[in-house]
């Protein structure tokens, strides 16, 4: 389906990432946003508050993030495409409802403009400290999708992608921005509406009475209904059967949760987006995401100028994590370097996946600013040197 031209601000703009995210939501067909102000995400909702009424959308500033994160789910079940916008501490408050969205299979988008934590931390400065919170923050087992833009253009593009993925898989999608991309201003090209692909909500065509809200079929993803269409359906955050009725036993729970997990895991290959440069013959591959990918890009340029074979794998999708691709790379790559604005969240994931087949080096950073490119460059040098030593040892053996 093509985008509704009413919300599409076609043209070349000089926008910051927060504003670009708002435009992405409008292009994607989002017409309901509930939010609560929190730095550095506030500019997103400010622009939404200004833009939405003129395009038939509704913005409401709720009393807190908890309310925002469930108001959007009410709106989705009322027929809207909806999102909420927050930063780290707010995302913490929303976590119960990330779980609810996973359980109800409410297609919705959570935008997190990451700032430094823990607690109030550094509200006006960047970090990437919410990556594990986004993945595991709610209780129980479930899967989400998380996208990591590294520019205002991508804040626009990936907001649309987030809505499309949410609809496709009926899953909460996290847009993991950070203060740097949120507040950075660059050129943002907004295409014509007819050139924007938008995934429509997939509603059932079955008649009321026959329709079962959680009958998934082979696709693993059930079709939706909305309130008011005569289906008289029930949904619950409790473990439920295909009718949407509570089913309080271990077998039903296994069936319910297994599908929530597998619908993402089994489709990981289709969901995952990566950007790879020079990985084919690389000895060292830098794995990065979000704003850090740009800083890493500069460090890689420096290392290549020294003649090192350095590849770059950028996670556009952080979750699901590209396990298969990394395992394949590990067969010829001697070392991975993973810089991030935290003390090693995605690095743990990398280590888990590589299983010791290659060396893995973190470049941790508490946030507050981005890395010095020099720090990543030095780590690449170290990794290259260290892995050569390891090779010699292997030869000696």
């Amino acid at each position: 389906m093509k985008a509704d031209p009413k919300g599409v601000l076609t043209g070349a703009h000089f926008l910051d990432g927060d504003h670009a995210c708002c435009e992405g939501a409008l292009s994607a067909g989002c017409r309901f946003v509930a939010g609560y102000p929190i730095t550095p995400s506030t500019e997103v909702v400010e622009r939404i508050a200004a833009r939405f009424p003129s395009v038939g959308g509704m913005f409401i500033q709720m009393e807190d993030e908890i309310a925002s994160s469930i108001a959007i789910q009410g709106a989705v079940w009322g027929g809207a495409k909806a999102m909420t916008v927050t930063s780290g501490p707010g995302l913490s408050l929303m976590m119960e409802h990330v779980g609810l969205a996973a359980m109800l299979e409410t297609p919705c988008v959570f935008v997190d403009v990451q700032r430094s934590g823990p607690s109030t931390g550094l509200p006006t400065m960047p970090a990437q400290g919410d990556m594990m919170q986004a993945r595991w923050g709610s209780h129980g087992d479930y899967e989400i999708i998380a996208l990591c833009p590294n520019s205002p253009q991508e804040c626009y593009d990936l907001t649309i992608a987030a809505f499309n993925l949410a609809e496709e898989y009926r899953v909460p999608v996290m847009l993991m921005m950070d203060e740097c991309v949120g507040h950075m201003t660059e050129k943002v090209i907004i295409p014509k509406a007819e050139d924007i692909e938008v995934t429509p909500r997939r509603y059932t065509t079955q008649k009321p009475g026959k329709y079962l809200p959680y009958q998934a079929g082979r696709s693993e993803i059930p079709l939706m209904v909305k309130a008011g269409d005569g289906y008289l359906f029930h949904v619950t955050g409790l473990t439920h059967d295909e009718r949407g009725y509570p089913a309080m036993n271990a077998e039903a729970h296994d069936r319910c949760v297994r599908r929530l997990v597998e619908k993402i895991r089994n489709n990981a290959r289709r969901i995952i987006r990566l950007e790879e440069t020079d990985t084919a013959d690389a000895e060292v591959v830098v794995v990065s995401y979000g704003i850090t990918s740009r800083v890493a890009g500069k460090a890689i340029q420096m290392a290549r100028a020294d003649g090192l074979k350095v590849g770059h794998l950028r996670l556009i999708t952080a979750w699901p994590f590209p396990e298969k691709r990394l395992r394949t790379l590990a067969s010829h790559v001697k070392a991975f370097v993973l810089p991030e604005l935290n003390f090693g969240q995605m690095f743990l994931e990398l280590q888990r996946v590589i299983e010791g087949k290659s060396s893995c080096y973190p470049v941790p950073h508490a946030g507050g600013t981005v890395h010095e490119p020099e720090a990543i460059y030095q780590r690449i040098l170290y990794a290259a040197r260290h892995s050569r030593l390891k090779d010699k040892k292997e030869v000696a053996r």
Partner: protein, 283 residues
């Protein structure tokens, strides 16, 4: 059974019997609600029901309407999103005193403040039933609960006063003894524009009643009959509840104020003039 109870068409009979205890007032409240929507003038397809968590939270799951069983304390913000996405819907929140006024208290006062177009029915049984009878914000002074074993010493909320102060346009209280009046009030509340609030005092014989030696459900219902006084238009400051004291019932507030959506239309129509397309939801 050849003759079928007319309320069955509004119930998910495939889920009966329900989980509520013998003598619990929740089923009676559901009966009142069904009688209210039968006569409210809206087709049932346009009525959505949202509940939180707890014994009362299960109401949504038994009603054959579009029904949502959400998270603890959050049915009001869910209902807010549902209503705003599709303003044609009549959205009714039914939840308990703990859900709506402890964990969800902030949402209630803000929904009332902004006069969100919702009906909120609070089934007040003075306790958390599903988790074993703990203290709630409405447990009267001196009442025993599992977390106030020496008697409650915290001042409880006077819900009608709270609702009026926060801005609700319709405020009524009944007990489950007052089935006819309760049904009428819920109907009026649904027909009201803005935030309407109905408190239903209900027996929880298993936990609240037993701990406080109030007898079984029937004894509690008889006590409601004997101890209640109907004072329509009563000053809500005067209707706070004591342990075993008088229960003032009635319709206390019925006033007109522009709702959230009314104010939204007015503001945007003024701001955008002829370019404003009145917001009718997101379809």
């Amino acid at each position: 059974m050849s003759r079928v109870n007319p309320v069955n068409q509004y119930l998910r009979m495939d889920r009966m019997p329900h989980i509520w205890c013998s003598g619990c007032g929740l089923g009676t409240t559901v009966n009142c609600f069904i009688r209210a929507i039968e006569n409210c003038g809206y087709p049932r397809e346009q009525i959505s029901i949202v509940s939180g968590i707890g014994c009362t939270g299960r109401v949504a799951g038994y009603l054959k309407l579009d029904s949502f069983h959400t998270t603890h304390g959050r049915p009001i913000p869910f209902a807010t999103g549902l209503k705003l996405a599709n303003p044609k819907l009549k959205v009714v929140v039914i939840s308990g005193d703990g859900d709506l006024f402890a964990i969800g208290g902030n949402h209630f006062i803000h929904a009332a403040r902004r006069n969100m177009d919702l009906t909120v029915v609070c089934v007040n049984n003075f306790t958390y039933g599903m988790t074993g009878g703990q203290l709630t914000p409405t447990t009267p002074i001196d009442a025993i609960s599992s977390t106030s074993p020496y008697g409650n010493f915290e001042e409880p909320f006077n819900l009608p006063f709270l609702a009026e102060s926060a801005g609700a346009v319709y405020v009524a209280r009944w007990t489950t003894y007052h089935v006819k009046q309760a049904a009428r009030s819920i109907r009026e509340a649904i027909q009201k524009n803005g935030l309407s609030f109905v408190e239903i005092i209900s027996p929880c014989p298993t936990l609240y009643g037993r701990r406080n030696k109030l007898g079984d459900g029937l004894a509690m219902m008889k006590a409601f009959k004997e101890n209640s006084a109907i004072v329509n238009g009563a000053d809500t400051r005067e209707v706070g509840l004591d342990f075993k004291g008088k229960i003032v019932c009635g319709k206390f507030i019925d006033r007109e104020k522009p709702s959230f959506l009314d104010m939204y239309h007015t503001t945007m129509a003024e701001r955008f003039g002829p370019f404003y397309e009145p917001y009718e939801g997101v379809q």
